[in-house]
Subunit: 445 residues, 4 copies
């Protein structure tokens, strides 16, 4: 593979692309990009134009000559690709707004990757991942699929288990952010500490040891509730009960706040919604401003404002992961990959998010061992729910969708939850062909 690398980015018109470009420029000496393709859909054409022109200006301002290609037809881009990165959003931010508004209106958490919103994001995204993989099988059968489309864990599980693309790695910036912040909180550098993560995407725990092998998790836990505690900025920082942290003896991820302080998180979400709309709507505005910036011909670097979005370091994680594969670096990184027993309380073929070694072999998960009962029960519940969601996303089975809704701790069971399910189905009709029949039935009723 020591030839120059061809990268194809699906959803290339995303506002995150400049971060990706910056990451590749910074790593050019170790990861020589030959060709770069940004792919998007018709509706994203204008954004794709703006972002690809900025991308080209960024490369042109660098010491390296890389051509940025664009296309609305991924089949044009894929042939010969070494890495396909996915950062698309089926239905764009408009869809996310629905994912967040509709639950909120029914008094449930409106959130992008958790609860009802996360399930619908999976319903829209998984079939498209299937189609992308069909194309990859034909056009670039040796390529790696580096997914950072959310819900990243479920999308990765679908890609590997259901669509059979073993060379998939799922990414998330949550572990990255935790590592960066927490080390500082206890007066250490990130390099001094060893982090071990295990769980599911947006639902994991970690432990930390120092250079002397001493477990410093308890110290890290003392700072979890602080402003810089390691939780991404997009999550409201309702404090975890101290006794809960002490009892777990592991650091929960930021998204656990939705599960462990449910009423507080819900109330905050509804307040925010009343004040300024959903987070999606706020992002809509942020995006708008970003693209105005991107369009300025004088700009040839990633603008600072991009850092405000929850996805910071996402693209950096992607570049790092790609470089680790290309250079066979055996880099310790937390990714979504096949369990292989790393978490014995889940099936070996489930996709989990665990500390892994990234090398030319892909991700090798580090075995974690048995979880204490509470974490084990949570993980098993969440994975079972994910399985229902993935199966429903592929088959359009309404009953399974309802089972997933009923199990999901952030969705009310009963009539109200079912109402949210039905409204979301109708609202996203355009992107849910697998549920077409049920949607017709719902519309007729």
């Amino acid at each position: 593979m020591k030839k120059q690398v061809k990268i194809v980015t699906i959803g290339g018109g995303s506002s995150y692309t400049p971060e990706l470009i910056e990451g590749f420029i910074r790593r050019y000496e170790e990861l020589p990009i030959g060709e770069m393709w940004l792919v998007d859909v018709e509706r994203g054409k204008e954004k794709l134009r703006i972002v690809s022109e900025l991308a080209q200006r960024m490369w042109d301002a660098s010491p390296y000559q890389v051509k940025v290609h664009t296309t609305l037809d991924r089949r044009e881009a894929l042939p010969g690709a070494d890495f396909v990165t996915t950062q698309f959003r089926v239905g764009l931010l408009e869809a996310r707004i629905k994912d967040e508004r509709i639950p909120d209106l029914h008094g449930m958490l409106g959130q992008e990757t958790n609860g009802a919103g996360g399930i619908f994001k999976a319903f829209r995204t998984i079939p498209v991942i299937g189609q992308i993989i069909d194309d990859m099988r034909e056009l670039c059968p040796d390529a790696w699929l580096i997914n950072f489309t959310n819900p990243s864990g479920m999308v990765t599980e679908a890609a590997i288990k259901k669509f059979g693309w073993k060379k998939t790695i799922g990414l998330c910036n949550v572990p990255t952010i935790a590592q960066m912040r927490e080390s500082g909180n206890i007066g250490e550098t990130e390099e001094e500490l060893t982090y071990q993560f295990a769980g599911l995407n947006h639902f994991h725990w970690h432990k930390v040891t120092n250079r002397d092998g001493e477990d410093v998790t308890a110290e890290v836990l003392k700072h979890v509730n602080e402003k810089n505690g390691g939780t991404p900025v997009n999550i409201y920082q309702e404090p975890f009960p101290e006794e809960l942290l002490d009892s777990m003896k592991m650091v929960p991820c930021g998204y656990h706040r939705y599960y462990f302080m449910q009423r507080e998180m819900l109330e905050h979400s509804i307040q925010e919604f009343k004040k300024g709309g959903t987070r999606a709507e706020q992002m809509y505005q942020v995006e708008h401003e970003l693209f105005e910036l991107y369009a300025q011909p004088g700009l040839h670097e990633k603008p600072e404002q991009l850092g405000k979005r929850g996805g910071a370091y996402y693209s950096d994680a992607a570049c790092e992961c790609i470089s680790a594969i290309y250079n066979d670096r055996h880099l310790r990184m937390t990714v979504s990959t096949e369990n292989k027993g790393a978490l014995p309380c889940l099936a070996p073929d489930s996709i989990v998010e665990v500390s892994s070694l990234i090398s030319a072999r892909g991700a090798e998960p580090i075995a974690w061992g048995e979880m204490p009962p509470a974490a084990r029960g949570w993980l098993q519940l969440m994975k079972a729910m994910e399985e229902c969601v993935i199966e429903a996303a592929i088959t359009g089975d309404y009953g399974l969708a309802l089972e997933a809704f009923t199990m999901n701790p952030l969705i009310e069971s009963g009539k109200e939850g079912k109402r949210v399910l039905d409204e979301l189905l109708v609202a996203h009709e355009k992107y849910l062909p697998q549920f077409a029949e049920k949607i017709q039935e719902l519309k007729a009723a």
Copy 2:
């Protein structure tokens, strides 16, 4: 064992005792009772007197001469016992009232065996079961422990796994009631059908086949939402969504309503609470009336009114189980017993509630096989929660109690849930010596 049988009933002053006596009288020819002891605590002395006198009148009116002994010291009763049945309620109905009122007041489900109330019933009961077993080990080392003290599943798990009394069987009337009602609903007799149950106490599913081996579960499911659908009378009959039933392809138990239609069940519970107090308070009244009846010297049979209580058929199940052991009957019965692999998604040494054969060997669980993902996830969550509860009940570990509260789907996570935990701890102080230190701390705050 073909000698006459000595039965010791702990909590003998319970209003259910007459049903038990009736059951033993009806089965005397197959199960010759030699001696019968009713044991209760000082506070239950008067009830014990009333109920034991009725019991003796019942036996005297029968063709059999059985002496009913009473004592406030179980160590007097236990020597030589063949079967010890447990139907006691630590803290009496007053404690149950607190279990139900306090959550209700915080907008959560107030229920005897589910949610916060069920957890506290476990906290109060499990240490006492441990003490009873200590006494049995010394005084009647060959006796069977037939537990129908709630939460029956957790109490049985504590008895077998934690206190090492392998000869324990946990009973519940929910499967009995389902079998009786459902067969009629589809125009069959109970004998024509084979029921297979699997899950946890108050959290199980079942499938039904007919004499020709045809799966008639779908037919049974059509009637689940009817008045006679198989749910015990003490549970509000909010209908299950049809699509959920269709998707599960198994019959959920009545208690699943709390989990699958949470808001509706909660609203009903709060309404009832506002109208007439908690169910516990209503029962208080029912109990009062029952004991007035029991005290009438002319009464020498089980009065009809007892049937109104949720525990109907409970004692009958106990007599049936004892007779099946005594007579080595290999009776198919649904009980709480060691899993042994019957549900492969749970540990072999977990206690589960499954269709079993009851014989002189005790309970032999019938293997169910793998559960579909949703049911598997639910069971794994609930069992993990039970493990935290049992461990906390024995050790008084507040952090684990909080973890159990946080996981339990019927308890709000976050501040409000923690408040309920703390109030219940203080309210039940007298019966929670294992939490004494924490309770002092809470009271001081």
Copy 3:
């Protein structure tokens, strides 16, 4: 199903058929046979004629009018069948002779269902079971497949897991014989005792309790090495070391002698072989005599001499099993069926031989729980070997066949074992189309 029953017996020309007929006659009142078909292959035509005429004479001498049909084309017999029983032997006794002679000649155990012989019996039989199931799917999609073709466990696993015929039950007479003999040895009747078996076909253990629930396994073990110890007559009765029996605390089956006293069993097998040929060759003679008897027009009952064969009670087990299904009897019987967790050390979808309830639902395995380490290791090894055998039987994969040979404790690993594998492949060429290519290669070499 309460209509009259149609039975189709594949391999109907077997010398065991009269026992089957006798079993059906004896049970006619509970299991009314309407029609009976005996199917065999061209090479078995003459035997089929003799045996079917005897069968008809037996029915004619009974109070019941049942017509025995014969055919060489199973597709003529299958339509409308309720039960298909399989007792065929691909390649007849001649094939068995090779299975036993060839290993013996190389100094390894020559035995019908264990070691190299058992593996080759699987290689020949499994593809034919696949074809029978293909026909059943088309012609009698509701029929039960009652298999007693050996190796019964592997054939049943192939039928259920590989060919998808869930309504298959695998039978063996070894548990039957053990139960009959052992109860007498300890001065009890079979009815007084409860047997629990678990393991694999021809590789299981059991425990025994009496009417009082007391474990009497230790007593049974005292008699295992006696002439009437429970081991079938076809197995040489080399005694088990007492300390081994004491340590296991479970009764091994007769076939365990091959594994636990390997040299002694091998030496006896070779001695026998030198004296009078393999057991197969002795059986050849017994068969010849039996068929001379069967052909006598005056005979209209099962002749006593049939009892000499190792398969005694086999057919009786089949009749009993069929009746238990037909009458929904919930009969406790040891059969090969889907594990479903009954043995947690094996996969839930593995086929195991365990005490089960036989009813219209088929077999419900009784959960056994965890095995002690030694038995667990043996079972896991043997099941893994079976998996290799079954996969090789279907695919003709020589490497997997060699892996199975290498693992099998009764086959020498290394050159000599490989030689036996190769010779058996060539010897059975006619019945091993799946290995055709490899056989050509071996013949060319």
Copy 4:
């Protein structure tokens, strides 16, 4: 821990010690040794003197000033130790000679770590490891135990699971040798390749990938049967059948030859035995010569002749492991450590030998995932046998010892195996106090 390191070597009088010293000298800059203690028993006093004097000369010839202490009382050495390495041999080479001769005389494999010899080495060693750990708990509670006493896997399992010393790592040179040789065989350097090992000590498999992530295992397999194929020199190089290698798609370790080509390996062992005595006896001679060399006052480096012994690179592995812990290096190394799910076919708390990361946290196993059926069955059998051995080693349970003998593929089951067990018990009486009663009984018989 960045202070100077105190090393205590139990069995310090071993002929391997100079390699250990050399390793520490070579790594002094990264691993500053402050103090070094060599501990041995009375019978090894003279060897300890010779070897410690050589060790001191080696340090004196180096640029570093390290004092080598000796003692016959480990309690004198242990206080304040950072690393305790164990390389002792209970009963010295004389005991090994018995382990090898006695099985050989009965026609079974006489080998140091496999078969009957390996089991007895475990019986003698495990209780001593328990005593060492008792002393460590008291005198150096924070020390790491780096075990290279054989059978390394079982000793490590006993140390971690039975004696509770979590900070134990078990070492072996087999993976080291394989990596060194195999890379050269396919024209690569060791650094270019990634090895993943999984299994048990002396019973593992591995796969190899190159810098491009391509699986080159098939290429490595082509050279396994060559002189430099990766098998340690102490193992006779009977070739593996090619079809077996092709089917496994993993590289078996050298010790697999005993299991996969049993007759050939046995015959070679017996031939060698007839020619020149057991390998142990040959080693006796080698040892004698080595100690003559060591005693020469002019020698102050590790003599070349030490490389002839099977244990080459053992001590190097130990130094490397210690340095990786001390320097928190996250070094990829194959060690015996807690499974934690890395091999899902074995219990999470079993000790396995797998590729791990060695850092200040100890060993973190890399998850391997599910094994193909044959390897899975082998591993499960061997681990179950190990469990019986370890339990018998601690309790002196003869029945369990016999169960282990019966299961072990390299020991004949039946009378002859039992005879070997009994003779070995008597022969090793002095070192087997746990079996004292049984040994008396055997001697009396």
